[in-house]
Each structure stands twice: as structure tokens, then as C-alpha cells.
């Protein structure tokens, strides 16, 4: 604990102790004498009956004691006093503090006042304050009071009896402790102001503290008013007064401690909370007693109540020590240099000083000071909190602004338009920049329907209907049903825009994407695809193509004229044309000739209309209609495309097909670049079929070659016959291999076949024979080359395909380098083939090449 705090607390405690010493007797009500009124003094009393007995002795009445025990022998007590000999015109007498069941006042023997039943208060114990005018010629007379004590335990007068002019008496009464009622009202006003302020307090803890302070102020105001001595002069007695008085007094410290707890915390072991809870317990018996007293009045209860209530000593000690504890806690809990605890201490100090040093009656003003200090503490809290909140809020604003900016940036650059609208179907002010581009205008507060469908009233109505249905569907059950009816894509100012819809808290959010480029590309691809399909179809079905084109040309140039010139009735005539057009449409669509098909389709639609409205048509209009149709132009559109891709020659030879190889490659490339598998694969397969060749054609050059070689080497050889080999293969794949076969043939002619004399010598036919046979078996090509020459020695058969092997010693032009057959072997292996050699010395050799079928 900081030293200064400690000192401060110690001073406060000391002051409080001083205060408590002063406060203990607490004689708050003391009359301030005034010269314009005077107390009637010299009172004497005697016990007696209804009428005054002259024999009884008078005794001096002791106002300090203020009451006597009821005397069971006497029903009444008589009091008397002499009035002054002179003074005041038309004065009044003011009675206050009479304990009795009833009161009679006599001036000498004249009855001048008789109390009513309603004049008794506090459970018929006390006569309320009375202001009673005196008759004329009152001077020097004796005033008698007859007090009745039938139910009361006590009887007598403890207050004062004043004499003076009515005006002065009233003035004095109301001046008396008038500060009570003034302060009381002031406190209540203050409390109501704080109540109003509390509306603006949001912080829960502060609100509690403020309510504690309000309660504290109300309680202080409450007992100030309740203890105002003249309440019973102003109002009739009400059983609520004891509640108000007692409760407000007893609750005041509780409210104070609760305030402390809320502002400074409840201290170690929650001691502050325990204190006010304990004080609260003290209130309960009081409430019970007051209630009992009000409901079943009973002397014992009343006695107990008054004793309990006036047990001021204990109560004040209790408050004092509670306060000491509070101050200790304040020192412990509150941090150094805390302004609030200083204000709190100052408030307490002011209270103490106001009581000790100035005037006990000003204790209320001390309390007022305390309340002001408590208000200051709260105000300080508010300001601090407000500053902190302001800082937070500023910080938050900055953060939000930064986030908003980055979000806006993100949305503006997302390449999508974001906009939202509510029930009014007007676009909200926040939308992303892309919207400006898409809609080509500022769209804030513009009707969304006009933006999406500027010219289509039907769509607008439809959309409005659906939007409203969805927005009004708060539960969201219809959303799933109606959302798919909204357009996902639409044309707007030449753009293709795609729209996604989101609904957040009755707000429609639209995410708009410009897909114009995407759709354009898609259309291009589609176009390209259709085009390629047409090219491939026409190529593969070239006969059909030529036939359809010729038929079509024949139809529009002559057949149509014949039909129109015929005797046919109009309906049949139209039907006939319709049927033919329909057939052409079907034929051309087989070839994927989309342009002409589209035109024929439109024509069909027209014809269908005509069929329905034959009455309105005559033959001549029909004729002129058909004559005007650009039949050839329709066809030309497709033909031009075909020609540009397949070349002019495609149209020249209807019987066969001639396409330049480069054109074919171009088509293949186009297919690969513009189509995705499996479609591209399918088309490529079709197209490549065009370039396949029968395998035997790859060997076409060899018969002539062998003939020439035979002549050159002076060997007689039968012309080479190639058998079989119509299987279609991709020539490119086999080309290197079939070229390398030259080595095989050369070897046969050079080394294998004997010269004619040699052959004749060996009883062989004069002409050597080479056979070439191509067979397909088990999806393999078997190419057999067989000669009837000298054969190969068994021991070298396995070596002939090895590089560098040669059976001859010298290198000649024709063969002998030993590289030839090795080359064959290499090419063979490249295409995954194999070779078997069978030979018989003197009889011949057979090479069997086993090849895969490659397309």
C-alpha cells in the first residue's frame, strides 16, 4: 500500500471515530428559539379521573424524562401551566410530543380542544402535532391538558408546547430542520437525474455502480424526509412512514458499500460484499417488526420495534467499523495514484469534518458532499471509459476502413461484378467496379430488373415475381424451389453474362461474370469441331457425298420444276417437296454439313406452316417462292469450306479420292489442336485410314530391282511374284524396314542363287526362283522370302544378321561389307518384329519375317 494512501486512510478512520463519538447521542432535533414565540413552561401534573380533583397535589413535570408508566389506578393524567399575563394578539398554542390515547385541552374550565380518533398516530400512541388557536382574553389563565391512558403503557409529554402568533409558530415549525426536507427533495431530484443518466450507460459494471449510487441517494433523501419532524403536521399518518424511515436509514450504508464494491472491487475475501450482506440481514428483522406492528399491534412488538430501531449506538458502531474496513480495503485494493480513491477519501473526510468541526446538524450536507464525491468517481469512470471506448472505436474504425478498402480492392479486381439489392429491388450503393463495365452505367439505386432485362417486359415481370417470392420467404423453404427458375446466363449489351444468386438476410446478392470470351471460344471450338466432322465424314463417304450433292443439284434444277409443273393437287405437291427436302436434310446431316442442313431445316419449317395454311396459298406464289430460293448458295457455304481444307481435287474425282498428303496432315493437326480426346482420337483414326496402304505395295519396287540386279550379275531369275499382302497398314511405319529388305534380295541374288551353268550342273532349273509371300496369322504379318539357291551353311546361319559378318573376302559394289543383313535386323527390331531363317544346303533358304500389324 502506498504511503500516501495509508496516511489518507488513517486520517479518515480517525475522523470517523471522532464523528461516531459525536453522533452517538444523535439529538438531531433541537429547537431553535425565537423571540416571536415562547415555550410555555412551569408544567405540573397529577394523576386523576375524568374531572380534576382539587385534593391531589401537583408535581413538577420533567420534560427530560418525558413520560410516566401508566398508573392502573388512574385513567388520566392532568397537566397544567400558567399562561403569561400579556403578549400576542390572537396567538396559537403548538403541541408536540404527547403520549396518550386522547387529549382534552381546557383554558381554565373552558374546553378548547378535544382530540379526534384520527389524531393519534404511531399505533394510537402519540397525539399528532396540534396547532390550536387560543380564545380571546387568554392572558393569565391556566391551561390544563387531560391525557387519557387506557391502552398506552406510557403517558406524558416529551415535546414542547409553544405559544405565539400563528404565523410565527408556523414559520418556526417549518424552519425547524427544514434542511431535512430541502436536502431530502434535493437528493431525490439528484437520484432521478442520475436515473435519467443511467439510460446512456452501457457498461454493466458501471450501470450497477450508478444504480447503487442512485439507491444510496434515494435512501439518504428518504430518511431526510421521513425524519422531518413535521411530517405528521403535513400529512395524515400512514403506516408506510416507518417503513420509509427505517428502511432508508438502514439501507443507506448497504447502498454505499455496494457502490464501493462495484467501483473498487470487493476486496480480499470479498469482505465488502460480506459487509453489505450483513447489513442487509440487519434490515430484515426491522421489516418484520414494522409489519407485525402494523398488522397486529401489540405493545411488546412496538416496544421491541422502537428499541430495535433506536438501537442507534450499535447501528452506528456497526457502520463505523464497516467504514473502517472499507477504507482498509480501499488502501489495499486500489492502485497507486488512483484519483478515484482520493475523491472517495475526500468525500468521507468532508462528511466527517462537516459533523465534527461545523455543526452536527450539517451532517446531511456532509452526506451530500460524499454523494458528490461518489458522483465524481463515477463521472471519472465514465470519462475514462469513454476515452478508452473512443480510442477503441477509432481503432476499430480504422481497422474496418482498412479491411473494407482491401475487400473492395479484392472485389473490384476479382473480375466479377458484385451487387446486392433488397426488397425494393433497387441496387444498393455498394457494388464492385466490374458492374460499371458490365452494365455500362452507374447502377446505384437503379431497378435491378431494368438492368438485367432492359427491353423484355415479360422477363422483368417474371423475375420480379420470383425475386419477391424468395425475399418474402423468411424461412427459406421456398428458396430452393424458386432459385433454379432465375436465369443463370443471359445476353446483355452483346455480352454473355453469367449470374449466381446468394441470399443473405433478405438481401439478394448477385455475382455477375462476363463469360463473353469464354462463350465465344466455345462457339469457335464448336464450329471447328463441326467443320472437322464434316470434312472427315465427307472424305470417308466421298461417294455418298458426290451422290448427295448431285442429287441435290438435280433436285433444285430440274426435279423441282417437274413437280411444280405436274398435275398434282397442291397438298400432295407440298407434301412431296417437303418429303424430298426432309430427305436431303437427313442426308446432308449424316455428312455433318451443318450450313446446308440449317437452311433446309428453315425451309422445312416454312413448308410445315404452309401445310397448315394451304388455303391461303396458290401454285404461282409457291413457284415464285421456290425459284427465289438460293439453293446453290446454301450448298456452296459448306463446299467452300471443304474445298479450302481438302483441296480442289477432292471434287474432281468422284470415283476415287485424291488428297494431298500435306492437306491430310493439316487436318490431323487441326483435329489434335481443337478437339479433346476421345473425340479427336476417333476422328484421327478415321482419317488415318485414308493413308493406309496394302502391305504388298511397300514391296512394289522389288520385282523390277531383282530383274535389273539379275541382269547385272548375269543371273537368270524368274520374275518375282508377291503373293497376298492386301492387309492395310500404315506405310510410314514399315518403310525403313521394307527399304532394308533390299539387302536380303541382294544377298539372295548375289550369293544365294547360283549362275545358270552352275544350276544346270546341279540339276536345278536354269532360272533361279525367289518367292515372296505375305500372310496374316494371329494378328501378325508373316513375310516369307524364299529362294532355291545354294543355301547357307548351318554353322553360320546364326551369324548372318551380325554386323561385320561376310561370307566373301572382297568388298564389291553389290554386297560383301557384311552390314546389309545387320541393317535389316535393326529395322526389324525397331518395329518389334523377328526373323526365322531355315536353310538347306544346295536346296535353298527361307527368311520368315514376323511383323506386328501397324496402322
Amino acid at each position: 500500500m502506498k504511503k500516501s494512501n495509508f496516511v489518507l486512510s488513517a486520517v479518515c478512520i480517525l475522523l470517523l471515530i471522532l464523528v461516531s463519538i459525536q453522533v452517538l447521542p444523535y439529538p438531531l432535533f433541537s429547537f431553535h428559539q425565537s423571540t416571536s414565540t415562547e415555550p410555555i413552561q412551569g408544567w405540573e401534573y397529577q394523576w386523576g379521573q375524568e374531572t380534576l380533583s382539587k385534593n391531589m397535589p401537583w408535581q413538577k413535570w420533567d420534560f427530560q424524562q418525558g413520560h410516566l408508566e401508566r398508573n392502573p389506578r388512574y385513567k388520566y393524567i392532568w397537566l397544567k401551566a400558567e399562561l403569561p399575563q400579556e403578549g400576542y394578539q390572537n396567538p396559537v398554542i403548538y403541541f408536540y410530543g404527547i403520549l396518550a390515547d386522547s387529549l382534552h385541552v381546557y383554558l381554565d374550565k373552558e374546553l378548547i380542544y378535544q382530540s379526534q380518533e384520527t389524531d393519534t398516530i404511531l399505533g394510537n400512541q402519540v397525539i399528532r402535532k396540534i396547532i390550536m388557536p387560543l380564545p380571546n382574553e387568554w392572558q393569565g389563565k391556566t391551561i390544563f391538558l387531560r391525557l387519557e391512558a387506557t391502552s398506552n403503557q406510557y403517558i406524558g409529554i416529551y415535546g414542547t408546547v409553544l405559544l405565539g402568533p400563528h404565523k410565527n409558530i408556523l414559520e418556526q415549525i417549518f424552519k425547524h430542520e427544514f434542511d431535512h426536507i430541502l436536502l431530502g427533495s434535493f437528493f431525490l431530484t439528484l437520484a432521478s437525474i442520475m436515473w435519467a443518466v443511467s439510460i446512456f450507460v452501457r457498461d454493466k459494471q458501471q450501470k450497477k455502480a450508478l444504480f447503487a449510487l442512485i439507491f444510496f441517494t434515494i435512501c439518504t433523501g428518504g430518511w431526510n424526509i421521513a425524519e422531518y419532524d413535521n411530517v405528521d403536521l403535513l400529512f395524515f399518518y400512514s403506516p408506510l412512514w416507518p417503513y420509509l424511515d427505517g428502511i432508508s436509514v438502514l439501507m443507506t450504508p448497504i447502498a454505499g458499500f455496494y457502490f464501493f464494491e462495484q467501483v473498487f472491487g470487493s476486496g480480499p475475501g470479498k469482505i465488502i460484499r460480506r459487509i453489505w450482506q450483513f447489513h442487509l440481514l440487519y434490515v430484515i428483522p426491522y421489516l418484520v417488526l414494522v409489519t407485525l406492528n402494523n398488522t397486529i399491534f401489540n405493545e411488546n412488538v412496538y416496544t421491541f420495534l422502537t428499541t430495535y430501531y433506536s438501537w442507534t449506538y450499535i447501528k452506528l458502531l456497526f457502520i463505523l467499523y464497516s467504514l473502517i474496513l472499507v477504507l482498509v480495503v480501499a488502501g489495499l485494493v486500489v492502485k497507486r495514484d488512483n484519483l478515484e480513491i482520493k475523491i472517495f477519501a475526500a468525500g468521507i473526510t468532508f462528511l466527517a469534518l462537516s459533523i465534527v468541526c461545523v455543526d452536527l446538524d450539517l451532517a446531511n450536507w456532509g452526506i451530500f458532499g460524499l454523494i458528490v464525491s461518489l458522483i465524481l468517481i463515477l463521472a471519472h469512470r465514465f470519462v475514462e471509459n469513454h476515452d478508452r471506448l473512443a480510442a477503441w472505436s477509432k481503432n476499430l474504425e480504422q481497422t474496418v476502413a482498412a479491411r473494407t478498402a482491401s475487400l473492395r480492392n479484392l472485389l473490384n479486381n476479382a473480375g466479377q461484378g458484385f451487387l446486392s439489392f433488397g426488397e425494393d429491388l433497387l441496387v444498393n450503393e455498394e457494388y464492385s467496379e466490374e458492374c460499371l463495365r458490365i452494365f455500362g452505367q452507374d447502377i446505384e439505386k437503379k431497378p435491378i430488373l431494368d438492368l438485367l432485362f432492359p427491353e423484355d417486359e415479360e422477363e422483368k415481370n417474371f423475375l420480379e415475381n420470383v425475386f419477391r417470392k424468395i425475399i418474402h420467404d423468411r424461412e427459406g423453404s421456398l428458396r430452393e424451389k424458386y432459385l433454379p427458375l432465375l436465369p443463370n446466363e443471359l445476353k446483355l449489351k452483346g455480352q454473355d453474362i453469367q449470374i449466381q444468386y446468394k441470399i443473405v438476410n433478405d438481401i439478394f446478392m448477385l455475382i455477375i461474370t462476363d463469360v463473353t470470351d469464354k462463350r465465344f471460344l466455345e462457339r469457335q471450338v464448336e464450329k471447328e469441331r463441326n467443320l472437322l466432322k464434316m470434312v472427315v465424314r465427307c472424305m470417308l463417304n466421298r461417294r455418298d457425298f458426290h451422290e448427295y450433292v448431285n442429287d441435290y443439284r438435280n433436285f433444285y434444277s430440274s426435279r423441282l420444276q417437274q413437280i411444280l409443273a405436274g398435275e398434282c393437287p397442291l397438298p400432295e405437291l407440298v407434301n412431296e417437296i417437303f418429303r424430298l427436302v426432309h430427305t436431303f436434310k437427313g442426308s446432308f446431316s449424316q455428312l455433318e454439313m451443318v450450313k446446308v442442313v440449317q437452311h433446309l431445316h428453315n425451309l422445312e419449317t416454312d413448308l410445315a406452316d404452309w401445310q397448315k395454311n394451304l388455303r391461303n396459298i396458290d401454285l404461282s406464289s409457291l413457284k415464285s417462292y421456290f425459284q427465289k430460293l438460293p439453293w446453290e448458295e446454301w450448298l456452296e457455304e459448306d463446299l467452300r469450306i471443304l474445298q479450302s481444307i481438302l483441296g480442289q481435287d477432292f471434287f474432281k474425282r468422284p470415283e476415287g479420292i485424291y488428297i494431298e498428303k500435306t492437306k491430310l496432315l493439316e487436318i490431323e493437326e487441326k483435329i489434335l489442336s481443337s478437339l479433346q480426346p476421345p473425340e479427336s482420337e476417333h476422328l484421327l483414326k478415321e482419317i488415318r485410314k485414308l493413308s493406309l496402304k496394302p502391305f504388298r505395295e511397300l514391296l512394289d519396287a522389288y520385282p523390277e530391282y531383282i530383274e535389273r540386279l539379275g541382269e547385272k550379275l548375269n543371273k537368270s531369275i524368274k520374275p518375282l511374284q508377291i503373293q497376298g499382302g492386301n492387309t492395310l497398314v500404315n506405310p510410314d511405319k514399315y518403310l525403313n524396314f521394307t527399304k532394308s529388305l533390299v539387302n536380303v534380295f541382294r544377298n539372295i541374288v548375289d550369293h544365294g542363287l547360283e549362275s545358270s551353268p552352275e544350276r544346270l550342273e546341279r540339276n536345278k532349273p536354269e532360272y533361279g526362283n525367289i518367292e515372296c509371300r505375305i500372310q496374316v496369322q494371329d494378328e501378325k504379318l508373316y513375310l516369307t522370302i524364299k529362294d532355291d539357291g545354294r543355301g547357307i551353311k548351318q554353322e553360320i546361319v546364326s551369324l548372318i544378321f551380325k554386323a561385320g559378318f561376310s561370307t566373301v573376302d572382297g568388298v564389291r559394289e553389290i554386297s560383301g561389307r557384311g552390314m546389309g543383313l545387320a541393317a535389316v535386323k535393326i529395322e526389324l527390331e525397331r518395329i518389334g518384329g523377328s526373323v526365322e531363317v531355315s536353310t538347306q544346303e544346295g536346296i535353298g533358304t527361307e527368311f520368315c519375317f514376323i511383323l506386328p500389324i501397324l496402322e
Binding site: E458, F462, N465, V466, K481, Y482, P484, L485
Partner: protein, 120 residues
């Protein structure tokens, strides 16, 4: 399994929907080619569900929906239509159709909508 009445003026459309529905395990208990027949068939069979084409000769789908619902307020009717007729779809929903299926439909979509309606 639901007992379904198919209403469509096209026999081919009825057939294809019938196949889809049977594939999903539903029973097609009746067919109607126009709105008037639809009402009669409904009265006769009290099906669990009606699939209703909108554009039909004589009495169109919307009239049929209104007529059926007037008498049988619990009838569960699903509209079958193309997106080009979305305005009519909306009218049908307003007339009391429970849901709709947009042509061309997949068995999945049909199944989803039917289950949704039958669960209600």
C-alpha cells in the same frame, strides 16, 4: 414407392417418364393426355403423385392443376416443363403445384424432387 399418374399429351414423353419412374421403383397407375382426362384419372385412382405437362390441348396443365386441387386439396402435383416455359412453371406453382422438373430431366433430378414431395 409411389403410385403416379402421368399427364402429358405426347405419348413418347409419357413413355420416357414412365421408364424413369419405374426405374426409380414407382408404379405408374395411369396416364392422361390432357387436363380433362387427368381430372378423370385422378378421381378414379387417387394417385400419390401427378406429373403434369403444362402445354396440352383441350384443358392445359394449369387448368388441370386448379381443377384437381379444387376438389382434392391434398393432391401432390409436379409440373414437368422446359425452362422456356418458366413463366408457366411459376403460374403452376402459384396454382398449387408442389414442385417442378425442368426438361430434359435426369433420373437423379426426378428422384430428388419426388422424394422431396413425398416426404412432405
Amino acid at each position: 414407392m409411389a403410385r403416379v399418374l402421368i399427364v402429358d399429351d405426347s405419348a413418347a414423353a409419357r413413355k420416357s417418364l414412365q421408364l424413369v419412374l419405374q426405374g426409380l421403383g414407382h408404379a405408374v397407375i395411369g396416364e392422361a393426355a390432357n387436363g380433362i382426362q387427368a381430372y378423370g384419372e385422378y378421381e378414379r385412382y387417387h394417385p400419390d403423385l401427378v406429373t403434369m405437362d403444362i402445354t396440352m390441348p383441350k384443358s392445359d396443365g394449369i387448368q388441370a392443376i386448379e381443377r384437381i386441387l379444387e376438389r382434392f386439396s391434398n393432391a401432390k402435383i409436379i409440373v414437368i416443363s422446359s425452362l422456356a416455359q418458366k413463366t408457366m412453371v411459376l403460374k403452376a406453382l402459384e396454382a398449387g403445384a408442389k414442385h417442378y422438373i425442368i426438361k430434359p430431366f435426369s433420373p437423379d433430378k426426378v428422384s430428388k424432387v419426388i422424394n422431396l414431395i413425398l416426404e412432405d
